[in-house]
Each structure stands twice: as structure tokens, then as C-alpha cells.
């Protein structure tokens, strides 16, 4: 029997999902649904936009207006949805390859525009759907089917990239820490401007196996041991933060005006609102 939350937020007849046993995406999808539910948003006014890849299958299971688009283009589609009807809450679910490789250009420009979209990147550090090729977030030196001798690319820090590009809210959460993730996603949705959250997933099937990271539980435990809340970290000396990954809210800027607000003012100035 599905839980009450699942019944209220998912297309139950479409479950179970297609993700591999041990995959972190199901947890992160549930976190997003929980955040939408907690905020009491009208489901009729919630739009989930996704691209292509493992992450992006989430849209199909979620019982909102869902738009499963082309590879890399979720944020560009979402920009059109949001600008066309600013009263909709637009949430993008995308992956590390979808968002930062093929969709990297749309990412930085959505950040720059500060359009009120919440983008959650399910980062499993690999191309899962196509069977384990290295992605822009596969750590330097690790392996993928297309990096059999080790990855010589350097990887992105997605929240830093987004912040530098102008995103006015960035954060990171893990599949391990459900409560922290739900709270962070709620804050990101509430933020009036472009927000980006890196959701650290786990891919035991490809990334984990290729790189001898153990099973899903071992990978989730690694998240638990390695990640530290940014607020806690701020009080610790640098030597204690060696090798740690910061999670929670990472940056926020309330000074920039939101994009659709500015556009509506142009319409008013042109007399187009009459």
C-alpha cells in the first residue's frame, strides 16, 4: 500500500518506478513531493519540467502538470512555461549530464535571468540511462565506461557554478539526509528567484560498481560521513573540513529583482495589461 503522501502526490498506477534497486533518485523524488505537499501548494498550479536521463523520469510519476522534454532543455522549456504563466510554480528535475553538460548553457542563463524556477539536479555522478559513461560531475580520476583509464576531466561544483552565474539561491542536499533535503527544497521553492539545488544521489549500479564504492547502503553511509551542514561548518576550523562536502543552503541573494516581475512591469508600461 502506498503511503498517504505517495497517494496524494504520485501517479500511483505508474509505480513502481524504473530506477535500479538502491538508486537514490526515488528518495530525492519523494523529497520534492514532500516539500510541495508541506508548502500546501495547489497541485493544479505546480509544473514539473524534466529533461532526459534517469533523473528526468521522475516527472512522469508525479501527479502534477508534468513536462518531460528533450535532453538538456528542461530549463529552457521551463523558462517558457514560467514566463507564459507566472502564477505557476515551476520546478525542474534534471540530472548532472542533462543540466551541466548538454544543458549547461541553459543552466547558466537561467541563473543569470533570475527567473523564479526551482531546479533540482539529481546528481549521480554518471550517465546512468546509457550505462555508465563519465559525466561533468564524475570526480577526477574515477572511472566510467568511456573513461576506462580514469577520468582526466575535472568536475563541476554545481552550486558554485550556479552561484557564479547569478542564481540567487543555491544549496546541496543528499539522498541520505531526508529531513535536511525536504527543508532545503521547501526554502528553494519559497525563494522568489532562480534557485538551484544539487541533490546528491547514489548510483550503485554504474558509478558505484565501476569505482568500487560498495552497495547503496555503503554509498549512503559515505554521504552521511562526508557531508556537513554549511551552518555547522561555518563554526569549525578549516582542518576539520578537509575532504568534507558542504550541504544545506549555500548562498542566497535577495537583492535582484525576479525576471517575470520585471517583464510584467514592461507590459504595464506598454499598456499591454489593459
Amino acid at each position: 500500500m502506498p503511503s498517504k503522501l505517495i497517494e496524494k502526490t504520485m501517479r500511483v498506477n505508474r509505480l513502481p518506478h524504473i530506477w535500479c534497486p538502491g538508486c537514490g533518485h526515488g528518495i530525492l523524488m519523494r523529497d520534492v513531493a514532500q516539500a510541495i505537499y508541506n508548502l500546501g501548494l495547489d497541485p493544479d498550479k505546480v509544473v514539473i519540467v524534466s529533461g532526459i536521463g534517469c533523473s528526468s523520469r521522475a516527472a512522469g510519476y508525479m501527479n502534477y502538470n508534468t513536462l518531460h522534454t528533450t535532453h538538456g532543455r528542461a530549463l529552457a522549456f521551463a523558462t517558457g512555461v514560467k514566463l507564459a504563466n507566472p502564477e505557476l510554480t515551476v520546478i525542474c528535475i534534471t540530472g548532472d549530464g542533462d543540466c551541466t553538460a548538454i544543458g549547461g548553457n541553459h543552466l547558466i542563463h537561467a541563473c543569470r535571468r533570475n527567473i523564479d524556477i526551482t531546479s533540482i539536479v539529481f546528481n549521480n555522478n554518471i550517465y546512468g540511462m546509457t550505462g555508465g559513461q563519465y559525466s561533468p560531475t564524475t570526480p577526477h580520476g574515477e572511472k566510467g565506461t568511456t573513461a576506462p583509464y580514469g577520468n582526466i576531466d575535472y568536475n563541476f561544483d554545481i552550486p558554485k557554478l550556479a552561484e557564479a552565474a547569478g542564481a540567487t539561491f543555491t544549496g546541496r542536499c543528499t539522498a541520505y539526509n531526508v529531513q535536511g533535503a525536504v527543508k532545503l527544497i521547501e526554502d528553494a521553492i519559497k525563494h522568489h528567484g532562480f534557485s538551484l539545488i544539487e541533490g546528491m544521489s547514489v548510483c550503485p549500479t554504474y558509478y558505484g560498481r565501476k569505482n568500487k564504492k560498495g552497495d547503496s547502503i555503503a554509498m549512503l553511509n559515505w554521504q552521511k560521513d562526508t557531508c556537513i551542514d554549511a551552518k555547522v561548518a561555518a563554526k569549525l576550523p578549516p582542518e576539520k573540513l578537509e575532504g568534507k562536502i558542504l550541504i544545506g543552503e549555500l548562498s542566497r541573494d535577495e537583492s535582484k529583482e525576479e525576471y517575470t516581475d520585471m517583464y510584467m512591469k514592461i507590459i504595464e508600461r506598454c499598456g499591454g495589461n489593459k
Partner: protein, 382 residues
């Protein structure tokens, strides 16, 4: 902005005015010669009518944002030229399979790659039909005057909304940059098709069609129907499926909605085709040189020339062309004049099946075909 009914406009500008009259309220695109005036005028005009304009970071973003806006309920357009048209192809296929209405303007320019950005061409004719991968429905309309840039854009939007397909408005630099008179027919005097947005599916299926119909009704996001839109083959609910039978029935319906209704989509012009000895088949800006040749021919007591001009280039007005070939007993040859190395000529040869000689008059140097060249070709081949 002048509210005069008759205005001197560029073809590119008239497209925007026609689009707004048809109800366009969203434009997303990326600057590219020779289509940029379409973006510029949309940026100026849309907020005046409560619409939205956004200049996206690239061509793909342009069509993607327009599709997003269409799903959210606004009539949307994007415009581009060759290189950008190539970049937009994947999402044209997405619009076809997800059945999202959109108008894509391609103001053609010469050559592959960057080519000759400011020179006229019609080299994207086949791309407009086959550019995106896989079997897919598409409607392509090509205007020959500034007035048609206005009225045929209205029709392009009507077709997009009525059939839930991407409609490609295939222009060329000749017409895009031409200024001539345009009657700004107000919306209340035009036929305007709107998608059905009042329907709530209420548990019925988002992609189901009623018996004898090909096009599912469409409620935009935000109206209470939580349906899924995807570029994967999907069931009647919009959810991805690998079922071969469902794939077949969805793909058949997508294609049938155009082929079985083509008589409502095809449009063409016939000038003196009933008893001509040479019939020139042409489209878009090339028709102006052909008409110029016909004017000259009349002065010179030349052979009798007719012109057959598809306005809907895809689906090609095949039955109309066949009818002329069957009924015109004087017809000795067909010349297909086009600014490419012979694309429409292939379609005409397919239809004519050797009943009369079909000859190509192509030009690919970035200059326009002249009336003299048309007359010379007729004489050579006669």
C-alpha cells in the same frame, strides 16, 4: 506603432503583425540574419498586447521556451534561418510527437553551414519536411508577398492549433526583406482557430481522440488536468510505453491527422495553367521572378506560360497538380524554378511520373533567379 489599415512593411515585420492578429502572445528566439527583424518587432510589439518576448541563449532554447509557453496556453512562435533551423530540428520532432502547437519561421539563406547569411535561397525545402529524425507530421507554408506574410502566418497559427503540430513558415530572404504594401486585416475579420482549452479530462485520457477524429483536445497546464507530456512514445494517458501496438497506433494517428486531412491544409495558386504550354512550378520569392517572366512573355508574343505555386508546400498540393496535367492538353513541359540545386523538382517528378518532361531551373550562387533566366530556360528546353 501606426494603426493604419494599409502599411508599408517588410515581410519579416508582416509575419509578426499577422502572428499577433492570429493570437500569438509568446515569442522566444535567438538573433540570426536574415530573420532578426522578426525577433526585434516581436520584442517591441508583444508587451503592447500583453504578450511575452524572451531572447534565449541559443536557438535550441528559443524553440524550447516557445514550446513551454505553448503548453502553458499561449500561442507561440520562434524564428530563425538555416543554421538555427538545423539546431531547432530535435525540438520540432518533440513538438510533433507531443502534439504541441507552434509556428517556426525559417527565413532561408544560401548554402550549408554559415553559407551566405544575407543572400536568398530556398535550400531548406527538404529539411523543412525531413529535418527532424523519424517519421513525423509537419505542415510547411511558404509566402510570396508581404501580404501573404501577414495572412499566411494567420493560417500557420490556425493549422498549428487545429492539428496540434509544428507549422513551419518557410520564407526566403527575398520576401523577408522586401517592403511592400500590407493590409493589416484585424482579427475580427479573420478566421482564427483556437485550441480547446476549456475541457477538463476528468480522468479520461489526455491523448485519446473521439471516433473519426485525429486530434486530441488540449487543456493547458494550470487548468486542473495533471497530464504528462513526453517525447517518448506514450499511451493515451501521455505516459511512456514500449508497447509496439500502442507505438504503431500513435505514430499512425500522428501521420494520418495530416495526410487524411490534407485537403484542409493544401493551398496553392494557379495562374493561366489551363492552356499553357510551359508550366512553371515555384514557391516563395521565386514566384515573383516567374510572374515577372510572364509579364515579359506577354509583351513579346512568347510561348504560353502558366505558373503553379504551392503555398502549402508540405503536404504538397499533389491532387491539384495532377488535375492540371490531366486536363491541360497543350502542356509540353514543366519547369521547376527554385533557389536550390533541385529539391521541389524531385517531388514534381514523383507526381508527374513522366507524363510530361519535368526540368529543373536551380540557382545556388546567392543571387536571385531573374525573369530573363526563366524565359531563356523555357526557350532552351522547348
Amino acid at each position: 506603432m501606426s494603426d493604419k489599415r494599409f502599411q508599408l512593411l517588410q515581410g519579416n515585420e508582416a509575419v509578426v503583425e499577422g502572428a499577433i492578429a492570429a493570437g500569438m502572445r509568446f515569442y522566444a528566439g535567438y538573433p540570426i540574419t536574415p530573420s532578426t527583424e522578426i525577433a526585434e518587432r516581436s520584442a517591441l510589439r508583444l508587451p503592447q498586447v500583453g504578450g511575452k518576448f524572451v531572447q534565449m541563449e541559443d536557438e535550441i532554447g528559443g524553440i524550447a521556451a516557445a514550446l513551454g509557453a505553448s503548453v502553458a496556453g499561449l500561442k507561440a512562435m520562434t524564428a530563425t534561418s538555416g543554421p538555427g533551423f538545423s539546431l531547432k530540428q530535435e525540438n520540432i520532432g518533440y513538438a510533433a510527437i507531443a502534439e504541441i502547437p507552434i509556428v517556426i519561421v525559417d527565413v532561408q539563406r544560401e548554402g550549408p553551414s554559415t553559407g551566405l547569411p544575407t543572400s536568398p535561397s530556398q535550400g531548406d525545402l527538404m529539411q523543412s519536411k525531413w529535418g527532424t529524425h523519424g517519421d513525423h507530421p509537419v505542415i510547411v507554408i511558404s509566402p510570396s508577398s508581404v501580404q501573404e506574410c501577414y495572412t499566411e502566418t494567420v493560417r500557420a497559427f490556425n493549422m498549428a492549433e487545429r492539428f496540434r503540430v509544428p507549422v513551419i513558415f518557410l520564407m526566403d530572404e527575398i520576401i523577408g526583406h522586401l517592403r511592400e504594401g500590407c493590409e493589416m486585416i484585424p482579427p475580427e475579420e479573420l478566421t482564427i482557430s483556437n485550441r480547446r482549452i476549456d475541457r477538463q479530462f476528468n480522468g479520461t485520457l489526455a491523448y485519446a481522440v473521439q471516433e473519426g477524429n485525429y486530434v486530441p483536445e488540449f487543456a493547458p497546464f494550470g487548468k486542473g488536468d495533471h497530464f504528462n507530456v513526453t517525447g517518448l512514445f506514450h499511451d493515451l494517458d501521455g505516459f511512456p510505453t514500449n508497447d509496439n501496438q500502442q507505438t504503431d497506433s500513435q505514430e499512425r494517428r500522428l501521420l494520418d491527422k495530416i495526410t487524411k486531412r490534407r485537403d484542409r491544409i493544401q493551398k496553392w495558386e494557379e495562374v493561366e495553367c489551363d492552356d499553357c504550354e510551359t508550366m512553371i512550378v515555384c514557391f516563395g520569392g521565386t514566384a515573383r521572378a516567374v510572374q515577372g517572366a510572364m509579364d515579359e512573355a506577354k509583351k513579346q508574343d512568347f510561348f504560353k506560360i502558366g505558373m503553379f505555386r504551392p503555398i502549402t508546400v508540405w503536404p504538397f498540393p499533389e491532387e491539384a497538380l495532377n488535375k492540371i496535367i490531366r486536363s491541360n492538353k497543350h502542356l509540353r513541359q514543366i519547369i521547376v524554378a527554385e533557389h536550390n540545386d533541385g529539391q521541389m523538382v524531385l517531388e514534381v517528378q514523383r507526381i508527374v511520373e513522366g507524363r510530361v518532361p519535368v526540368i529543373k531551373l536551380g540557382k545556388i550562387d546567392g543571387t536571385t533567379i531573374t525573369p530573363e533566366e526563366v524565359l531563356k530556360k523555357i526557350e532552351e528546353e522547348y
